[in-house]
Symmetry: C2
């Protein structure tokens, strides 16, 4: 769908979120799908590649993830800062955020999770590892990365390439309240 996207070796998957970017958590179950922003995620293991992400138990995404056992982590580039804030501020129970914002998704290679490439730097398709206690006590969901890919203009051969000519693809890091840091400064999200 995006000609620039290339597979990322699973042993390099942790590098995609090693520096703490805000991610879009994508999910689907039956005929429903959703996307939400999450600032709280991290790798927990290199091999096998495993991650942890906080998904509030009251969210539509949590419901879809628990039902399907899978989710995607998509890394929005700086050009998507407004969209990121928008999908982090509305509930998928009320609207189909893909349709609302014209977001095109492709099906993940392993589980068919909806994944976003346009405007994103990378994605990780993940299989939930059920941990009922930490899911309940800390809203923390553990998962194993089963596939990953990145836009080769900003991540190639296992390494990030932050340069002056790829500003729009650089990862964003949420400070709170719609304020993000990226590699070149602070962006302020505007309502869509």
């Amino acid at each position: 769908m995006n000609e620039h996207f290339q597979p990322v070796a699973l042993e390099h998957a942790s590098r995609l979120i090693n520096h703490g970017p805000t991610v879009l958590v994508t999910s689907a179950d039956g005929g429903r799908r959703n996307v939400m922003a999450a600032a709280w995620s991290m790798p927990v293991e290199f091999t096998p590649p495993r991650v942890a992400v906080v998904i509030d138990k009251r969210t539509c995404t949590r419901e879809l993830v628990m039902a399907s056992g899978a989710f995607g982590l998509c890394l929005p580039g700086a050009a998507l800062v407004d969209l990121t804030y928008a999908v982090g501020s509305a509930s998928g129970r009320d609207i189909d955020k893909f349709a609302r914002h014209g977001i095109v998704a492709k099906a993940g290679p392993v589980f068919g999770v909806p994944l976003i490439e346009s405007g994103c730097a990378a994605w990780l398709e993940c299989r939930l590892i059920r941990e009922p206690h930490t899911e309940d006590a800390y809203d923390t969901c553990f998962a194993e990365v089963v596939a990953a890919a990145a836009d080769a203009r900003i991540f190639a051969n296992g390494h990030w390439l932050f340069r002056g000519d790829n500003l729009g693809l650089q990862t964003i890091h949420h400070l709170g309240g719609g304020n993000f840091v990226h590699a070149g400064g602070v962006l302020r999200a505007q309502p869509l």
Copy 2:
């Protein structure tokens, strides 16, 4: 110790690591103390303020944290990129990294955890919440923040202030292999 440090209200503590900075994990037990770099941490709850951090079970830090039930998360500014990489590359079993690098620590207000202010943007003193399963399976340690403070030149009134005049205090985000991103570009750590 650092006149610029001011207390951070606990309800704002999560904002200190919301954007995914690399942290220095500090710990002490009996007459031993240690500091290591960790790229993998995140908030998991606003109130009470709780965090998760990955601390490998083979590290000296893990041993001290389990023995003492507490640790610090100190946020190195960009000026400390070399030091951060250095303390992430050596083991506290072999040397006292505070002495080796001339790092001055103050005692945390609640548990007396060694905390670093010079060159750091902020610190969080944390009480370990024992979770033996996730500690064992994912090296993921949960904790509650019991005190926090920040250099008012870069974090004040609950908000980050990334500006041209505080580059050296801006948080750093590890890409891997000693390459970090900060708010103004990419820094390459040099061996100390």
